[in-house]
């Protein structure tokens, strides 16, 4: 069992230009846990997970203060290799994003570009990842078909297969189910539980029931501050903070 995949955040501040999106956030995500991030729109939860794989670099004039360590290594040093960091920290997005390629190539692409050409290895990995993402039985007879022809839920599972194909330690999920129907959502949630033994998962969600169902720990953010971060069972049954209680009981947000 893979014991890597720990995220430590220490006194993190994040700015879009002059706007401070995250304020002094500190938290630790333990390996092989599912952590849910909840909070009202604009609270900084998506920003936070985009800091874990440095996707926030893509936006000009942003600034990071504080430390983010993945497996004890600071990911915001000058000599951090962003490309290999992102291979270690995979991501699944709100809108499913299959590449305009065949189903097979979507999964194999990440491997092909790091120079793995052996067809046997590629075939095995594609099958393994599609099985892990519970898509294999539905697509095994037409792997050459365009990934864009799959349904929304299938596309999202394909994106998960694609993410795990490059053997990451952490998978970030940015509202992965918000465009899916309840049945497809349930399948993704089952999948997350199954993936936990190999990967650390951080999921941003607007759906509090989902957070309660899938996660080991839940973090609640508001106005860029981490209000509460606790075991999910305690978080929802016995919140220690008044604001958390107001939020989860629907008094605002």
């Amino acid at each position: 069992m893979n014991t890597n995949g720990r995220i430590e955040v220490k006194n993190l501040n994040f700015y879009y230009g002059n706007y401070q999106a995250l304020k002094n956030v500190s938290m630790t995500v333990e390996p092989h846990q599912i952590v849910a991030m909840i909070g009202p729109s604009g609270c900084g939860k998506s920003t936070l997970i985009r800091i874990f794989n440095r996707m926030c670099d893509l936006i000009p004039s942003t600034r990071v203060e504080g430390k983010v360590l993945i497996d004890g290594k600071d990911i915001y040093t000058k000599d951090t290799d962003v490309v290999s960091l992102r291979r270690k920290v995979g991501m699944v997005f709100q809108k499913s994003t299959p590449f305009p390629k065949s189903i097979y190539d979507n999964v194999a692409y990440g491997l092909k570009i790091i120079g793995i050409k052996d067809h046997r290895v590629l075939n095995e990995t594609v099958e393994k990842c599609l099985r892990r993402s519970a898509l294999w039985d539905e697509v095994k007879d037409h792997l050459g078909k365009s990934a864009l022809s799959l349904s929304g839920g299938q596309q999202q599972r394909l994106c998960i297969a694609r993410a795990i194909a490059v053997d990451p330690e952490i998978i970030l999920m940015d509202e992965p189910c918000s465009a899916l129907d309840p049945i497809a959502t349930a399948r993704i949630e089952e999948l997350m539980a199954a993936l936990k033994d190999e990967y650390t998962i951080v999921i941003v969600t607007h759906n509090m029931q989902q957070a309660a169902r899938v996660s080991d720990k839940t973090a609640f953010l508001m106005h860029g501050q981490l209000i509460e971060y606790n075991k999910t069972t305690d978080f929802f049954t016995n919140p220690s903070n008044k604001i958390t209680e107001d939020y989860i009981t629907g008094r605002f947000g």
Partner: protein
């Protein structure tokens, strides 16, 4: 006040309805005119050119004045060679510039280049010919296929740059993020994901540019120059259908006039085929994407 508005509405009702009908008719006539012009051109070409079209037209070289028969085999091949050369110049440069503008360039620089491509697009085609004459023909001391292809290729650049920039920009942002999040270097995201997503639009842009330069005569006058025989080397003058049409059309011989009409017809059919092929390419990709 309310009454007044209602009343004047009623009073102008007839006038409104008549104008409405008139405008529809006027607009329809405009559309019909466009079609009509196209048909007139086609009809003329077919009526005057079809009779001179025979197998010999596609397989034989031009005959000297007074001898009947002969064809444009050399010019047809020449046009394809020139177009191929033009694609070799125009597509890499235009596509590269378009991708750079969309994916890398700073706003100010991008805007300057965009403005310049618009200017370049408006430059008369003969100027491209003169330019190519200066930088290719003079140093090489010979008219050549290369210089003609170069002139046509330059003409294609602004068109291809603009269309590829547009279509590359239209690729959803999430797709780029997904590629980067998978640990792909940016250039891989561009070549492996963005370009394949935008290929339909890019191809259409290339075809439009190709169709436009296929009929250009002016840039070829003192570059490709024309040739009454097959060209053995790209460094030699080469025949092209538009050049041949021009030469025949300004001649006093009715036999040559007929050949010119036939040449024009062939040229249009070639452009037509290129376009249909491109449409089919785009269409079949779309079908594949949709899972059919």
């Amino acid at each position: 006040m309310k009454d007044l508005v209602l009343k004047s509405f009623d009073a102008t009702r007839l006038r409104r309805e008549i104008w409405d009908k008139v405008m529809v008719v006027v607009l329809f006539l405009c559309a019909a005119c466009v079609l009509f012009i196209l048909f007139i051109i086609l009809w003329h070409l077919i009526a005057r050119g079809l009779s001179s079209l025979n197998p010999a037209f596609f397989t034989h070289l031009p005959k000297a004045v007074g001898e009947s028969g002969g064809g444009m085999a050399n010019a047809i091949i020449g046009t394809f060679v020139l177009l191929l050369l033009a694609v070799g110049v125009g597509v890499p440069l235009g596509l590269g510039a378009g991708v750079y503008l969309s994916e890398y360039a700073h706003q100010r620089f991008a805007q300057t280049v965009r403005f310049m491509t618009d200017v370049l697009n408006g430059v008369p085609s003969i100027v491209f010919g003169i330019f190519s004459y200066t930088v290719c023909v003079l140093p090489m001391k010979s008219f050549s296929a290369v210089s003609g292809g170069f002139a046509l290729g330059l003409m294609m650049i602004p068109m291809i740059t603009r269309t590829s920039e547009q279509f590359v920009k239209m690729v959803p942002h999430q797709l780029r993020e997904a590629g980067l999040a998978l640990g792909l270097p940016k250039w891989r995201v561009i070549t492996g994901i963005i370009l394949p997503s935008a290929i339909g639009g890019i191809m259409t842009g290339i075809m439009v540019a190709l169709a436009r330069v296929a009929g250009e005569t002016a840039p070829l006058l003192f570059t490709a120059f024309g040739n009454l025989h097959y060209t053995q080397s790209l460094m030699q003058p080469i025949a092209a259908i538009p050049l041949q049409i021009f030469n025949y059309a300004v001649s006093p011989y009715s036999d040559w006039h007929r050949q010119a009409w036939a040449g024009a017809l062939v040229l249009i059919v070639i452009v037509f085929i290129i376009n249909i092929w491109a449409q089919y390419f785009v269409y079949s990709r779309k079908r594949w994407s949709a899972g059919k």
